[in-house]
């Protein structure tokens, strides 16, 4: 019935077209009816790509030299202000993994004249969100507030940035919470896979190899003095920037920031150097037993490259084709074609130092070996030239949806933080499209060959060993190293009552 309806319309259409010649009045009617009947025989053409007109990035300075990077966005009365410190989890002392993480979370547990409860109450009452964070190479405090509460929120933000109190009883509480989190990781196949992936790739001597929240030993040993020392070493104007985004002008915010941060003192911190990570030399499979698991968590990867690489744009395009979008090869193959999984993807984690390249998925236990086979099929296939069609699709996907990363004040603040941390030029956002569009097929193949060596990767599988070991070993992808969850995470910590 649907079919005949469409057909009859087409018939009317073709008749009408014939009548157009010479009949002015009919022409009007016909044009109208023509515009109402869709041509479904091929997808409609796209309009010319729209251009993105972002407000300018404004650079300001406080009297003590702290740089303020600002973007105005006046649609919604919200403001985001972030203190960004150029130090992070990589700066954890070797014997104190987790120190950056515990220090920053403790900055929320008391500041200025307020204890932890008073501070939380004051922030929540404003409807604001002020929280401290630690990344690999950055740490800081981010503040999100309705414009109407900006002054109150800034006062609390200033306290957290400049006057954290690190109360011992809060540290004890934080310690128990962290040890319990470590314990709960034993339940989480994703956490187990990701801890072992980092450990295998980077080892014990590189900061990227350590669990970010610390290990049982370090968590039990943290002293208030350790936290204060980390804070005093890295939190200072010589090492800090401020990011401001939202419904605010530079004239309005600068005096407020000057009043809070203008007298902050402290020297510049020497950037630490770290040992170069050693690349994976030989393919091996780490099979971590999770008895009875209905799915296997798969992680395949090696050390990738840093954010400042000249290959950045080519890698973004290549990864979009491989596993960076829904219609990417990995997802199409493992999910849509074979139904092994709910989703498969790949990613280059660009950091200050080379972060990991990772391909992964959670697949049904019974097809673990077949899924691994398809992963390697795709990791090998990406070394061959990609089609023109795939290249164009990937470039369009990256460039045409790029404006979506600038919707909220929090998203924009994150984008500006990248500008600061990686020292990107101010025209970076506006040139993104141009830079992606210059990537060629040859570039894609070159970076695939350079960064994806399917015979030099680590394979992590968290799953039901007794069901999968035999079939996985038949793939002959490398030596299988059998591990228990305790081998990866250590024994689950036991809390004293």
């Amino acid at each position: 019935m649907q079919k005949s309806k469409v057909k009859s319309k087409n018939v009317i259409l073709s008749v009408a077209k014939d009548l157009i010649i010479g009949l002015g009045i009919v022409l009007l009617l016909v044009t109208f009816s023509y515009s109402q009947v869709p041509d479904r025989s091929k997808p409609p053409e796209l309009g010319p790509p729209p251009s993105m007109n972002l407000p300018a990035i404004q650079h300001l300075k406080l009297s003590n030299g702290i740089s303020v990077v600002l973007m105005e966005k006046h649609q919604v009365p919200l403001v985001e202000v972030d203190l960004l410190i150029k130090a992070g989890m990589v700066n954890d002392p070797k014997d104190k993994p987790g120190l950056a993480s515990v220090t920053t979370s403790m900055m929320e547990e008391g500041a200025g004249t307020r204890n932890a409860l008073e501070l939380a109450d004051a922030i929540d009452f404003l409807g604001a969100n002020i929280s401290a964070f630690a990344g690999w190479h950055t740490a800081g405090v981010s503040m999100f507030t309705p414009l109407s509460k900006l002054d109150d929120a800034l006062a609390l933000f200033g306290d957290m940035c400049l006057r954290p109190t690190f109360p011992i009883e809060e540290l004890e509480r934080n310690r128990k919470e962290r040890l319990t989190t470590l314990m709960q990781w034993h339940d989480e196949p994703r956490a187990i896979a990701s801890v072992h992936f980092s450990k295998t790739l980077y080892g014990n001597n590189h900061p990227y190899g350590k669990p970010t929240i610390g290990n049982e030993k370090s968590i039990r040993a943290f002293k208030v003095e350790d936290l204060k020392k980390f804070y005093q070493t890295y939190f200072g104007p010589g090492n800090a920037s401020l990011i401001v985004v939202g419904d605010i002008s530079p004239e309005a915010i600068l005096p407020k920031l000057e009043a809070i941060f203008g007298k902050w003192e402290g020297g510049k911190v020497e950037q630490q150097t770290f040992p170069k990570a050693v690349q994976v030399k030989e393919r091996a499979i780490y099979l971590i037993d999770k008895p009875g698991a209905p799915q296997s968590e798969i992680r395949i990867g090696r050390i990738g490259i840093d954010r400042m690489t000249d290959d950045y744009y080519a890698l973004r395009v290549m990864n979009t084709i491989l596993g960076g979008s829904f219609s990417s090869r990995l997802n199409q193959n493992l999910r849509e074609l074979h139904g092994y999984t709910y989703g498969a993807s790949s990613n280059f984690d660009f950091r200050m130092m080379p972060g990991p390249f990772l391909a992964g998925s959670a697949v049904q236990t019974a097809v673990t070996d077949s899924a691994l086979f398809q992963f390697f099929f795709e990791l090998n296939r990406i070394l061959e030239p990609v089609s023109d069609d795939e290249l164009t699709r990937a470039k369009n996907y990256l460039t045409l949806r790029y404006p979506e990363s600038f919707q909220t004040v929090q998203q924009i603040a994150g984008q500006l933080a990248d500008i600061v941390v990686y020292n990107l030029p101010d025209d970076y956002f506006n040139n993104f499209t141009k830079n992606i569009l210059t990537v060629t097929k040859e570039d894609v193949q070159r970076v695939a060959k350079k960064y994806i060596e399917p015979k030099k990767v680590s394979i992590i599988v968290v799953g039901d060993r007794k069901t999968i070991e035999k079939s996985v070993s038949k793939l002959k992808y490398g030596k299988i190293k059998n591990l228990t969850i305790d081998d990866v995470l250590g024994k689950a910590p036991v809390l004293e009552k």
Binding site: K5, T181, R401
Partner: protein, 455 residues
């Protein structure tokens, strides 16, 4: 008492007046002859737009033996249609810089495409083609392919996730077997295996008709041109028979049910659940605020007592999960090692009784309302995706008849007094009509709350 109350009200008003302005999302609404309701909204902040369609069908409409079908069907909507070969829906949209997703709940199924404004025509073609002509090219093989994907979604999101089966067990115990909320949206593995090609055709013809849908296009659009294009692409989608809303008597519990589940987890977790008023009905906003008073932030009653002071719990949360037929209010607490769920339950009940017996302070209620107020501002920032303005316009239209219900929705919260919060606690958080689920590590049933009568 009276005087104190008056003073509180005064302060209350004063605080509200300090805060944000009116929220307004301008829209234009029209209906096509085939019954499709269309809502347009302009926002030119970025050169992007979104299309968002709600079908008024969810897992609540499923028939026995076919649980999970509405969601499986959602997956099939991405498998190509008469003029869009399999795989091309995603491929063509992504090649145009777009992105898409869909979701299924017990009440409705929604789909969105975010796209650069240059891809409006393409997006409308893709969406209308599957809305009109999905089953023309449906095959048993496509059903099989997505069946496997959905089964893996169930494994990933429920079976292989610690405590992952909780929501399924809670629904089964809160609602009688014939209630649409008794079974989970994800369905059972057996029912997913049973779903057939014929089921797909029948479901499409019954529910996926324009008179059972509402469609929002929002963002960087020209409303005149957009209206023309929507009329062009959607007018030939055939109208279906009217779809009647589910008629369901209000469910209530007349006793307390206690259920114990063993799972591969380190720590026991307690879930207490009540049946509560449906979304937007009296009591719903009050229960949102009650949830915040109980477990939102460090100073909330349960967090402060269990996690902060006594440190016998790792985390606690409370929420009003609002749906169109009825809602569920839940409190969830995870014990620290060495502590039993019985210990936790005793304190949770004490704190609930405190709220019932003594009006919460003005500050804690206002603190919660203020947080809601900011969350409404945040909703103004995004146009597309789940929870973006387009999705909310559609939700408000479906549930209240008014797409721009932002102010009215927020006003529900701003009007609340501490007495209102106390009152919903008394009315709904009964201890003789709830479902108490204990999830304990395997072989450790002694950590669960005892059966009723052993209390």
């Amino acid at each position: 008492m009276k005087l104190k109350y008056l003073l509180y009200s005064f302060l209350f008003l004063l605080l509200i007046n300090l805060s944000v302005s009116q929220l307004s999302v301008k829209f234009e609404k029209f209906t096509l002859p085939n019954g499709l309701t269309v809502i347009l909204h302009e926002d030119h902040t970025l050169p992007t737009a979104t299309a968002n369609i709600w079908y008024h069908v969810g897992s609540g409409n499923e028939k026995p033996g076919r649980t999970g079908f509405a969601h499986l069907f959602e997956h099939l909507m991405f498998m190509g249609s008469k003029n869009v070969p399999v795989g091309k829906f995603d491929e063509w949209l992504e090649a145009a810089g777009g992105d898409n997703n869909g979701s299924t709940s017990s009440d409705r199924t929604n789909y969105w495409e975010n796209f650069p404004s240059s891809a409006l025509d393409l997006t409308l073609f893709l969406e209308s083609d599957r809305d009109g002509y999905l089953v023309d090219v449906m095959t048993p093989e496509k059903v099989d392919a997505q069946r496997d994907v959905v089964k893996n979604e169930r494994r990933q999101s429920y079976e292989n996730r610690p405590y992952g089966m909780s929501s399924i067990v809670i629904g089964e115990n809160l609602f009688p077997p014939d209630h649409p909320y008794h079974w989970p949206t994800i369905g059972s593995q057996e029912d997913l295996s049973a779903a057939s090609f014929e089921d797909v055709v029948e479901f499409f013809k019954k529910y996926y008709v324009p008179n059972n849908a509402s469609f929002v296009v929002a963002g960087d659009i020209d409303p005149v041109k957009t209206k023309e294009l929507i009329t062009k692409w959607f007018s030939d989608v055939p109208k279906g028979k009217p779809v009647m809303p589910i008629q369901q008597p209000v469910a209530y519990l007349t006793e307390e049910k206690r259920v114990v589940l063993e799972d591969k987890v380190q720590l026991p977790r307690l879930y207490i659940n009540w049946i509560t008023p449906k979304h937007f009905s009296p009591g719903d906003a009050e229960l949102d605020i009650l949830a915040n008073v109980l477990a939102g932030g460090k100073n909330s009653r349960l967090y402060k007592r269990l996690v902060y002071d006594l440190q016998i719990a790792q985390d606690v949360s409370a929420y009003q999960d609002a749906s169109m037929l009825t809602s569920v209010f839940s409190i969830v607490v995870t014990a620290r090692s060495g502590h039993t769920l019985t210990e936790l339950e005793k304190i949770v009940r004490e704190e609930i009784n405190k709220v019932k017996n003594e009006t919460p302070s003005l500050r804690e209620v206002q603190r919660a309302v203020n947080q809601y107020e900011v969350s409404f501002l945040m909703r103004m920032e995004r146009v597309g995706g789940f929870g973006g303005k387009a999705d909310l316009l559609n939700d408000y239209y479906v549930e209240t008849g008014n797409p721009d219900y932002f102010n009215e929705d927020l006003a529900r919260y701003k009007a609340l007094t501490p007495d209102d919060i106390q009152s919903v606690a008394q009315t709904y958080l009964r201890d003789d009509g709830d479902v108490v689920l204990s999830i304990v590590p395997q072989g450790k049933k002694e950590l669960a709350v005892p059966e009723k009568g052993d209390k």
